[in-house]
Amino acid sequence: MIDRLLEDLGGENIAVACVYCDFQDHEGQTAANMVGALTKQVVNALKMVPPEIEEAFKRAEREVGGRGLRVPETVKLLGSALAPMRRTFICIDALDECSDKHLSQLLSSLQTVSRTSPGVRLFITGRPHIQSAVEKYLPRSVQVMPFSLKSEDIREYLEMKLKHDSGTEEMNPALKADIMKRIPEKIPDMYVMANSISEPASNR
């Protein structure tokens, strides 16, 4: 999606920044590091490092032992990076994998950012149960869309996989046909979800 946004909208003053949450990396994925990672990507899209960030970096360098960034500072720096941008798409993937300890800090950071930087659009993915937390921190601004694979997607994916497998001894046209028939049948809930996607415009 990130590549797609850039392809479709790419141009001056547009940035896309993403963070992939991972429950296997709770130590590294603090709210400060995640907000910092967003800042990093926006800065990278700018021609030069914004002076506020440059100054904060120099200040931190002068401090003996070098202190890590704290959440309020990173949020401020993200704001400075966003200022020259007309639009920035921030994507947070698998928010439910973020540890409880950092989830509220991350969401309240995103709340501040979306309030202070009107050019920001947030895209968050996660399991359905995390929705209430998202809505709590970003009231009135959340649109929810269930996502699932459509049957065409499943078929297409299987075909790709089977093509890679076709060299193996066990694979033959009959088995392939069987797989193509049975697997999509086994996942009927995905069809249901896919069909219930359309969100009425009146919800806005």
Binding site: Q29, D93, L149
Partner: protein, 105 residues
């Protein structure tokens, strides 16, 4: 790679790949750090996380066209094209693990 054609050994021997210690005509050593090097330092300081590594991994395993319908829905396009205060600024894409949310292209 042997960098000796680009980087001359300097008096103190502390030069590294991105910073050049140059001896100028007055024979004083001037450290010129490339702009890119300075930017890289700032970026590292901002966060140790490297989302682009994961992104490249996702990109390599992704099947083009997967979930294309989602990116064509009114809801998605409204979110993408809404400016400033117009429309909802946050899109929450909900789904259970394994349905391919990460691999949306």
């Amino acid at each position: 790679m042997n960098g000796s054609t680009q980087v001359e050994p300097n008096a103190t021997g502390t030069g590294h790949i991105n910073s050049f210690n140059q001896i100028n005509s007055n024979n004083t050593t001037t450290i010129i750090t490339t702009h890119a090097d300075e930017k890289a330092k700032v970026l590292n300081w901002l966060s140790p996380l490297q989302p682009h590594v994961r992104h490249n991994d996702v990109r390599n395993r992704r099947q083009d066209g997967l979930g294309e319908w989602f990116l064509q829905t009114d809801g998605f396009l409204r979110w993408r094209d809404g400016e400033g205060e117009s429309g909802k600024a946050t899109l929450f894409c909900s789904g259970n693990p394994g349905v391919g949310k990460t691999f949306l292209r």
